[in-house]
Each structure stands twice: as structure tokens, then as C-alpha cells.
Symmetry: C2
Subunit: 187 residues, 2 copies
């Protein structure tokens, strides 16, 4: 099981601010699914909100619409293969948790499972905006709980030390960037 | 002046897919401005669309609402200081182009200036969605032209060679990550 500590809600945007690719987990009526998403971003600080594109053809879309909930899980580089796979096949035909050996643990505030081995987790409730959901596949969510692996993110900050686990950034065609060197700019 | 080549519109999402921090440039009625934004993402492939948060207190917001246009400029690490500054002071009191010595060149399809020294550029027209603009400061745009510095992105792909200029990812408090090592995962 992943080591994890709660992240203060007002700092939870920092888990997403640098634009990592995420795994979106969802659950409804006994069914669960996970998909990859490069298209997510913070939307507000307090209460924290996120925006996320969920294609209308996906099984995740059905589960998120039915439950009104989703979780954003921030995978490490070690999970890149599973991330690509989770973004390439449909939960309609595949039990991705079993096929990619993705262990999960229970979220605190929502029904969607959280993925073991990730660096951070955002539990979200959909803010209903039917027009943009239908027209653009665009979902807004309020972050109701957040967690991080303290080896990667603690006290509201990403851990910058050499060797700390890093998040990943998908481009296309199986190409990723790793999150690179940290640097500071004086304000 | 930056070296630049057109980017095929269907590939333009790849400039943003890995979640870089961007500089948003805008113009209206002879006034111009630039601000930093960590909260942007692709929204669709074809026609390409983007989503972007533009706070209601900003000068950029006024110019974007008045003109119906904005550009997303993807800064290099060399521009990190200017990026932080452009996100920290208001265009109401500062001519950021002059103060941070940001040279510009003309866009092709929109009036907003494009910033010299960036790695890529997306010229966007606002897709009017007044409800989410007012409620969430969330703007949608259609990408009508795109460009990239071929040292960083060419033929629809980021250049992965060692020493190629890299984009940046803002976190908070002057902390950035550089875009790190590229890696491939077999599909």
C-alpha cells in the first residue's frame, strides 16, 4: 500500500499545477474503471476545483455521470506503461485493474477507488454543468479530499531532492516527458 | 526574432499536452498585455480547442473579452524570470513588454502579439460561453493558427535531443519544474 498523508485542501492545486498526466478512477453500482487523462487542470484555489475532459465514448464517462464523483491519481514514472494502457483500451471490454495489476485502496469522501503506487490523489465531486459536459466533454469538480505520498510531496510542496519519485507528462504515440529538474526564480 | 515554422492544426494540441506553463498575450484598441497562466489545457483535437482560466481581476481578462482573442505562448527556461514576473504584476500598472524586455512579432490570424523567444505559439479565438466565463473564469478557445521553434518542436513532435530547449511547469512561490527527460512506452 502507498504511503500517504493528507494534503491541505488549499494546497491541493499544487499536485496538478505543473500539468502531470493523471489516471481518472471512477465507480458506480459495483463497477469501477480507470482511464488516463492528459487534459486536466486546476480551476480554483478555494474551494479547490479542477477541470477535466472525459470523452463521451468512455466507460469512465458513464460511471462519472452516474456517481457524480471521480478521483485524479497522479502516476509515477514506474506506472507509465499502465498509464498508457489505461488510456488505450476501454473499460467496457477490459478490467484494467486486473489486467495491469493496479491495486487500489478506498477513498475517504467518494466511492471511486484510489490507485496504489501513485504520488498524489484528488477526490472530486462533479459540479454539474450539463451544457459544457455535453458540448465539450468538459467536467468540473470540487476537490473534497487530497493525499500525497510524502516521498514525493509533503508539507504542501513537491520534494525536490534527487531521486524523489517524479510525475509524468504525456505527449502522443507513447511518448512521455518525465517531470524534470526543479528550479527557483526570485520574486 | 524567433525561428518558427507553422504547426499543423491537428497536431497543435501536442504543444500543450504535457502541461507547460504558458504566457497569455492579448490586445485590444491599441493596448496589449501579457500574463502567465499555469491553468490551461487542450480541450479537443479537431478543430483544436483549448481551455484557460483568466481571473476576473486581470487586465488580460478585459482585453480578451473585448477582442475575443488570445495567444498562448510557451516560454523556455530562459524566460522563467519573465514568466514569474508576468504572473505577479498587473498590466494595469505595468507595461510588462517594456519592463521585462519582451519582444513580440505579429500573429497571423489574431491581433494579439506573439512573444519572441518562446518555443511554441497558439493563436486562439474565444468560443463564447458566458456562463462559465462569469462563474468560473473559464475561457474556451479555438486554435486558428499554431507555430513552433523547430529547435524545440518540429514535424508535429517535440525534439527529444539533449540540449533542445525545454518548456517549464510552474508550481507555486517561484518554484518551477523544467520539462525533463523524454521516454517512450511501447503500445
Amino acid at each position: 500500500m502507498s504511503s500517504r498523508l493528507p494534503v491541505e485542501l488549499s494546497k491541493s492545486y499544487r499536485l496538478l499545477n505543473h500539468g502531470p498526466t493523471v489516471l481518472v478512477s471512477s465507480a458506480h453500482g459495483g463497477a469501477t474503471n480507470v482511464m488516463a487523462a492528459a487534459w486536466s487542470m486546476p480551476l480554483d484555489f478555494s474551494p479547490p476545483k479542477v477541470a477535466l475532459v472525459i470523452d463521451r465514448s468512455t466507460r469512465t464517462r458513464e460511471l462519472v455521470e452516474a456517481s457524480g464523483e471521480f478521483a485524479l491519481n497522479i502516476p509515477s514514472r514506474q506506472m507509465a506503461q499502465a498509464t498508457l494502457a489505461a488510456g488505450s483500451v476501454s473499460g467496457r471490454e477490459h478490467d484494467k485493474f486486473a489486467e495491469y495489476r493496479l491495486a487500489t485502496f478506498a477513498a475517504e469522501k467518494i466511492g471511486a477507488p484510489l490507485l496504489d503506487g501513485c504520488l498524489g490523489w484528488l477526490e472530486c465531486r462533479v459540479i454539474p454543468e450539463p451544457h459544457i459536459q455535453q458540448r465539450y466533454d468538459l467536467f468540473l469538480g470540487e476537490v473534497v479530499a487530497a493525499w500525497a505520498d510524502p516521498r514525493a510531496f509533503r508539507d504542501g510542496h513537491w520534494v525536490f531532492e534527487e531521486g524523489a519519485p517524479r510525475s509524468i507528462h504525456y505527449i502522443a504515440g507513447g511518448n512521455f516527458f518525465e517531470t524534470g529538474a526543479a528550479f527557483d526564480v526570485d520574486q
